[in-house]
């Protein structure tokens, strides 16, 4: 991910509300809601890519690879 896009993600430390965002993701993971947490993160990466680079699909290949890895390792069932 480019630095410019990374700075726009909701979890980046410089962003307003980033601690609450991280907390919400942590709560979902602690509740076993991995799929929901990943869906939120994927939407957020796509939003950052759109706002930062004008390309909603910029990280689609990397996200696909992440999902394949998650399924392969039973992280995402």
């Amino acid at each position: 991910m480019t630095r410019g896009d990374h700075l726009l993600t909701s979890s980046h430390g410089s962003r307003s509300g980033s601690a609450v965002y991280r907390s919400d993701i942590e709560d979902l993971l602690n509740q076993g809601k991995v799929r929901e947490a990943m869906a939120i993160e994927i939407r957020d990466v796509r939003r950052a890519a759109l706002e930062g680079s004008g390309d909603l699909r910029k990280y689609n290949a990397a996200l696909k690879e992440m999902l394949q890895y998650a399924r392969r390792t039973d992280f995402l069932q």
């Binding site: 726009l8 430390g13 962003r15 509300g17 609450v20 907390s23 950052a48």
Partner: protein
């Protein structure tokens, strides 16, 4: 428009940016942002070179975030350094750690990327009163290592 050196005043803002300012006031003060973005709560953020100004749903300033390259001070000293991180923890006296943030509630300042040497996360933020209230149950005391 020249970017100012910002001065963090606890719970007042990063002067000349003050909490409670409107989008019009920020544009008048700092010029048009490089980008207008949103966070997960659909709250507006103005992104400038190496800093951002966050607004709440009523579109008044609640947050100013800085990354390396920004000129920001506390009490006349730069804050985006490891030395400043350590100094401000001492001044605050009650540093907390939560979710990768080191939060100085007495100073209204939060750091990321300094205590864990994560350069991609290095940032300093000035936040308004109550910003971390929701997370108080997750906070732990933060103790500086002796290095």
């Amino acid at each position: 428009m020249t970017t100012p050196t910002f001065s963090i005043e606890p719970y007042k803002g990063a002067l000349p940016v003050r909490f409670g300012m409107t989008t019009d006031e920020i544009e008048s003060l700092l010029g048009d942002p490089q980008r207008r973005s949103t966070n997960f709560r659909k709250e507006l953020t103005y992104d400038y070179e190496a800093f951002n100004v966050g607004f709440n749903k009523s579109k008044v300033v609640t947050h100013v975030g800085f990354v390396p390259g920004a000129s920001v001070e506390y009490d006349g000293e730069p804050v985006l350094t490891t030395e400043a991180f350590r100094r401000l923890i001492q001044i605050d006296g009650e540093a907390k750690e939560v979710l990768g943030f080191v939060v100085l509630l007495n100073l209204g300042i939060a750091f990321t990327g300094f205590h864990d040497n994560d350069n991609s996360q290095r940032a300093v933020t000035a936040f308004e009163q109550g910003s971390y209230e929701k997370l108080s149950h997750k906070m732990k005391e933060f103790v500086l290592n002796s290095e």
